[in-house]
Amino acid sequence: MGKGEVSNRIRRLRFDHGEMTQQELANKVGCTRQTIIALEQGKYVPSVTLAFQIARAFGVTVEDVFQYEEKEPGTTP
């Protein structure tokens, strides 16, 4: 199985939810604003628990927030 990459739509969903700020989302899910920033920049992949909390904060499923794309072995990003 190749190495996969997790992307997310958090920034889009925040704007779709009344331009929710990063701090508001962080307060809702119980993390720091810097973690939301790292998530949006694709520098951090959250735990399953945090992924569910973020999805629940937006009222959507985890798959609506996070996408997993598998890369074939040997392909460059």
Binding site: T32, Q34, T35, P46, T49
Partner: protein
Amino acid sequence: MTPQQKRAWYGLAIGIVWAAAIVAVFVIKGAAAFDEDAGMRVMVYGLFIAGVLAYVAMLYITGWRMRREGVIMDERDRMILRKVPVYQMFAVLWTLAGWAIALSEVYHDEGQIPVVFTWLMFYSAIIVNIVFASAGALIAYWSDEQHGQR
């Protein structure tokens, strides 16, 4: 900057002032005076304990203040801070290596070292360990911001 990064900066500032104060005493009085001058020993012990207390007080005060403002540590912080003991271990090892090389070079011909240096090695290892609890956290955050999860 995360609350843990702010704490690390405060800790580093305390650590640097603390280490500088102890080094200043040894530079002014001379390392040899540690064995002979009881006043100097009291001063060094006092500074040593004061530094540890200041560091612990900073952790309590910043923790109490930051908790009022919201979350102070989350899963990403924990992931990043798990790297800190590695930086501490290397810092202490390099410090001890520095002492070993310096003392071997200076006292090679005598074949023995003054007893005071065993205490200085012990103090310096503890100080470096505490300073690198903060410096290591800052390095770990910097590394994570540069490279993300690896």
